[in-house]
């Protein structure tokens, strides 16, 4: 028992020391630096357009887990879900020449990309699904992205613990060929728990970067001043990294 207490004491000392560092300004700037080194290393080692592995239908996981928000708690969402999302609109706005307001029918009529990819949650699990939808770059080009735009912000209908879900990516990921606005999973309209009617696929990052229940795509010059300013729900409220490629 004594030895166990000693080990626990030493582990506790490490943990206490670490939390002191983590709470300090230096600690926070070290964490931010490490995150940006990972991003730079990944960008240096992989081509900007390099694809995440694509699988075959034989590799699909038997189901696709829903996590985080698994529905939207609003009367509007209920009626839309029941009526095939006839009145759902996806706005493309912000720093664009021509803002767009698209119906699901508009989105389905665009050129489509279908990809079977693996989804990795920050918690550690993975699932494989087949996603279909137009490339985000196509929508941005149609709206006429302005040169000042540096980030794309995704607005969502769902709330988690009372706060609006949102996410953001930079232009490298925005124009990546596998970055699509998915409206189908495994050949069926997107299920409710997976973000019906629309969700993003950002294939080279962890699951929390793939926002669901998508309502708007906004081009911005900076993430400052948008909600908590850190570029996403998990980033603002729970301290997760903005770059989730590791």
């Amino acid at each position: 028992m004594k030895r166990r207490n000693l080990i626990a004491g030493m582990a506790g000392f490490m943990a206490a020391g670490c939390s002191k560092v983590a709470d300090s300004k230096l600690g926070q700037s070290l964490f931010e630096a490490a995150e940006s080194w990972h991003l730079k290393a990944h960008r240096a080692l992989a081509d900007r357009q390099a694809l995440a592995p694509e699988f075959t239908k034989a590799d699909l996981s038997p189901t696709f887990k829903g996590n985080g928000s698994v529905t939207v708690d609003s009367a509007f969402y209920r009626t839309q879900l029941a009526g095939g999302f006839a009145d759902w609109r996806l706005e493309v706005n912000g720093l664009v020449a021509t803002p767009l307001s698209l119906s699901l029918e508009n989105i389905r009529r665009l050129p489509q990309r279908t990809q079977i990819t693996r989804h990795d949650c920050v918690e550690g699990w993975s699932a494989i699904g087949e996603w279909t939808g137009p490339q985000l770059g196509l929508l941005l080009d149609a709206a006429g992205l302005l040169p000042e735009a540096k980030f794309i912000v995704f607005r969502c209908a769902d709330k988690l613990y009372g706060k609006d879900y949102y996410e953001s990516i930079d232009m490298v990921d925005a124009y990546h060929p596998q970055t699509i606005v998915a409206h189908m999973l495994n050949g069926e309209p997107l299920p409710e728990k997976n973000g019906a009617p629309l969700r993003m696929r950002i294939e080279r990052q962890l699951g929390y970067k793939h926002p669901k229940y998508l309502t708007a795509i906004e081009a911005v010059a900076s993430l400052d001043g948008i909600n908590g300013g850190k570029g996403g729900y998990w980033e603002d409220n729970h301290g997760y990294q903005w770059y989730a490629g590791m």
């Binding site: 490490m14 990944h42 992989a46 550690g124 699990w125 993975s126 301290g239 490629g245």
Partner: protein
């Protein structure tokens, strides 16, 4: 001639710090999803080959469940850990530490010789003439340098979706992302196993001198 070269001492303490923080933050990360799988996918424990225990707060960094905080530490310390090992490997090859002291010879792999070493270890007789390390030490340090630590790094890289487009073969080599994650976990505990034996033997062989020599360099006996 010093008993431990400067690069060995610097790396030893830097690596010790990295391994401890990575291990304890890793246990916190493990608490986020306690199931381990083989293959490419796995969720909700379906088809898991094992469910690992929930690790208590005194074993984890931070000292309570905090996936984001643990990831901050893990992602930060991964850098000195990986770069440190790379530098140490290059140094060991250049200063001949690897060829001279760590490499095992064919004669040492004979069962009788191994058994002799085991018996001497259990008798706590740490004298070994000529070579710096005996066979079991070479095997332990060699496994840490050549297997445990590099496999930790490569399996960590393999579970990073941002690096997979650059090296999809690496993930395939491990047999899929969830296999890489399982191996990452197993290697972490293998490294912990080494750590326990290492500390125990230091304590049994004159800890004050051992620790002093790993700081000052000591004298080659």
């Amino acid at each position: 001639m010093k008993r431990h070269s400067l690069i060995t001492r610097l790396w030893h303490w830097l690596n010790a710090l990295c391994v401890i923080v990575l291990f304890m933050s890793g246990l916190n990360i493990s608490n986020a999803h306690r199931y381990l799988y083989w293959g490419d996918y796995g969720f909700d424990g379906i088809g898991a080959w094992t469910a690992v225990p929930r690790f208590p707060g005194w074993m984890t960094i931070p000292g309570h469940y905090d996936l984001a905080g643990a990831r901050d530490w893990h992602v930060l310390m991964a850098w000195p850990f990986a770069v440190g090992l790379l530098v140490m490997w290059i140094a060991m090859l250049i200063n001949r530490h690897f060829w001279r002291d760590l490499r095992t010879t064919r004669a040492e792999w004979k069962p009788a010789a191994i058994w002799h070493d085991v018996v001497q270890h259990l008798k706590l007789n740490f004298e070994h003439d000529g070579a710096k390390f005996n066979f079991l030490q070479k095997l332990a340090y060699g496994s840490v340098f050549g297997i445990f630590l590099p496999v930790m790094i490569f399996s960590g890289i393999a579970i990073s979706p941002g690096l997979e487009p650059a090296a999809p073969w690496l993930v395939e080599l491990f047999g899929g992302r969830q296999s890489a994650r399982s191996i990452h976990f197993i290697m972490a505990w293998a490294t912990f196993g080494f750590f326990v034996v290492h500390i125990a033997l230091v304590l049994l062989s004159g800890p004050a001198k051992q620790i002093r020599d790993m700081i000052t360099g000591g004298k080659e006996s």
